[in-house]
Amino acid sequence: MGDFSSKTIGHIDREFIHDLIKKGERLDGREFGEYREVTIEANVVPAKAEGSALVRLGDTSVVAGVKVLVGEPYADSPNKGVMMVTAELSPIASPLFELGPPKEGAIELARVVDRGVRESGTVDVEALCIEEGKKVFMVFADVYPLEYDGNLIDASSIAVNAALMTTKYSEMKMEDGKAVATGKMLKLPIKNIAIEHTVSKLGDSLVIDANLREEFVQDCRLTMAVDQNENFTALQKGGGSGPMSLDLVDQAMGMALDSSKTIKAIIDEAVKDVE
């Protein structure tokens, strides 16, 4: 993801995209601050996952599923449940993804999306405590890309948040030191929703939601998690080692803020009918 050399893209395509951006154009006709079409199918794994969503961002698509398990809390946080996001670069999604143990790209994707969820306080982990020091709920949101045409981070962030918002699981109570289902279904205690927005730097220009061609030639990207109160809750500069001025970072933040309400509204609309 990012930092592509001439091995993956020929000179003329590289120059073509750069020249185009200099002229203020994108090949697919989008504005620099414009996302591709976002569609969300909520609850695609209804029988086995507690929450799920399939997200399309143009020709990029990912599926995210949530499992809620009962486990023991960490020693240093006996009254807190666990929230964790993982992701892999499934080779079904792109000829560029290889088999084998997770590489840097997969680990970065997982950690960046994870940070967007954890640092934003998305799930109230204290409310996931069943009995302090004994049993807590552990919430796992796992992401699998299905089609990779750029910007897996935003697609994954949208999918994970939509999946968390649709998650329902059985309430548990302790009986004789064991956690037993009460039969009552609960929604996740969601406190805050922050969605990640990724802006790519190409030369002196910034574009949001880069497709693969643009990602191939970007100098770097900046991912920003923005919550509904316009707080920035996580940043990650990656996707190449090109430096970025404070001015451009500021500009990128503006672009993220401009998109955050629209994307959040699409998510809200997609999850509202999931009961």
């Binding site: 930092d3 001439s6 020929g10 395509d13 002229k23 203020g24 154009e25 090949l27 964790m84 993982t86």
Partner: protein, 313 residues
């Protein structure tokens, strides 16, 4: 003696096509005197030969094919070139350069360069060999590469080039169509590049249908008319070296109503159609400017949160 398919029927692997004294050809196989399809494709009977034209598939090189490739490695006197499909190609300097040439052939063509070349030899044990000796085979400068399914290339070219010539004429673009599914598109006007992509994608999606040339021609005629409404003057489509002024496209001087209502069978495109331009590739001297590689391997330090992954499992 029997044939079990309709003319141009979409058939699937394993479908019985014919039995008796028919000859199995591409896309079919013979088992016990019966001919079956081995592909998803369009079945055809020509004389007593049965074949199936694939609707998809990887590029398999064939001698004489024009292909577009990207240089991956420079090794001694050879360039290793990616042409898509299962087999990487190689091009020997003798088949690309006039002698004498420098010991370091990367001076002429280097990693990342995109070339048009011809398959000069191929068998499936030793990868394909390329040549750039024919006229018009060159390092491609400017423009972009669009990838389509190689199986759709015959329709993108059309009979004796009818489809691609029609597209070039409508859009006044330069193009090179590689049999390996790569199309080079060049125009100083991005709107025309977009229309070309739209046309190629439409051919790709509808390659198995009839009357495609007419539909594409009609679509492009309408689209180009709209473009002309937006641009008062035609940019010269000669070379890309033109300086680009960033000015918003001015409004059309005269309001022409959008011609979107269904048209009668007779198309007005004949009037609009520009004089066919000879889309010949000018013989250019291959010159390479050295270009610094920008990518460096950087190990990304993880910011350290306590790792919880193991504990949870």
């Amino acid at each position: 003696m029997a044939v079990y398919f309709q003319k141009r029927e979409v058939v699937v692997p394993g479908q019985l096509l014919a039995e008796g004294r028919y000859r199995p050809s591409n896309g079919t196989y013979d088992e016990g005197g019966k001919i079956y399809s081995s592909l998803m494709g369009l079945a055809e009977l020509k004389g007593n030969t049965v074949r199936v034209v694939a609707l998809d598939g990887a590029y398999i090189p064939k001698e004489g094919d024009l292909v577009i490739g990207t240089i991956k490695i420079v090794a001694g006197n050879n360039w290793k070139i990616d042409i898509g499909g299962p087999y990487g190609a190689s091009l020997h300097a003798n088949n690309a350069l006039r002698r004498p040439y420098s010991d370091d052939i990367s001076e002429y063509m280097d990693i990342g360069d995109v070339v048009s070349a011809e398959i000069s030899a191929f068998d499936r044990q030793s990868g394909p060999f390329l040549s750039m000796r024919e006229r018009g085979l060159e390092v491609l400068e400017g423009g972009m590469i669009l990838e389509v399914s190689p199986a759709k290339i015959p329709r993108i070219i059309g009979r004796s080039g009818s489809m691609i010539n029609m597209i070039n004429d409508h859009l006044k673009i330069d193009s090179v169509v590689g049999q390996n599914g790569r199309i080079w598109i060049k125009s100083p006007d991005i709107a025309r590049v977009r229309l070309a992509i739209k046309a190629f994608r439409m051919i790709e999606a509808q390659a198995h249908t009839s009357n495609l040339t007419d539909r594409i021609s009609k679509m492009l005629a309408e689209d180009v008319a709209k473009l002309k409404d937006l641009e008062p003057s035609e940019e010269p489509s000669t070379e890309i070296e033109t300086v680009d002024e960033e000015e918003p496209a001015p409004k059309p001087e005269t309001e022409v109503s959008e011609a979107t209502e269904p048209k009668p069978e007779v198309e007005p495109e004949a009037e609009i159609k520009p004089q066919p331009e000879a889309a010949d590739e000018t013989e250019e001297v291959v010159e390479k400017k050295p270009e610094p590689e920008v990518s460096t391997d950087v190990v990304i330090e993880s910011d350290d949160k306590p790792e919880t992954e193991e504990v949870n499992e």
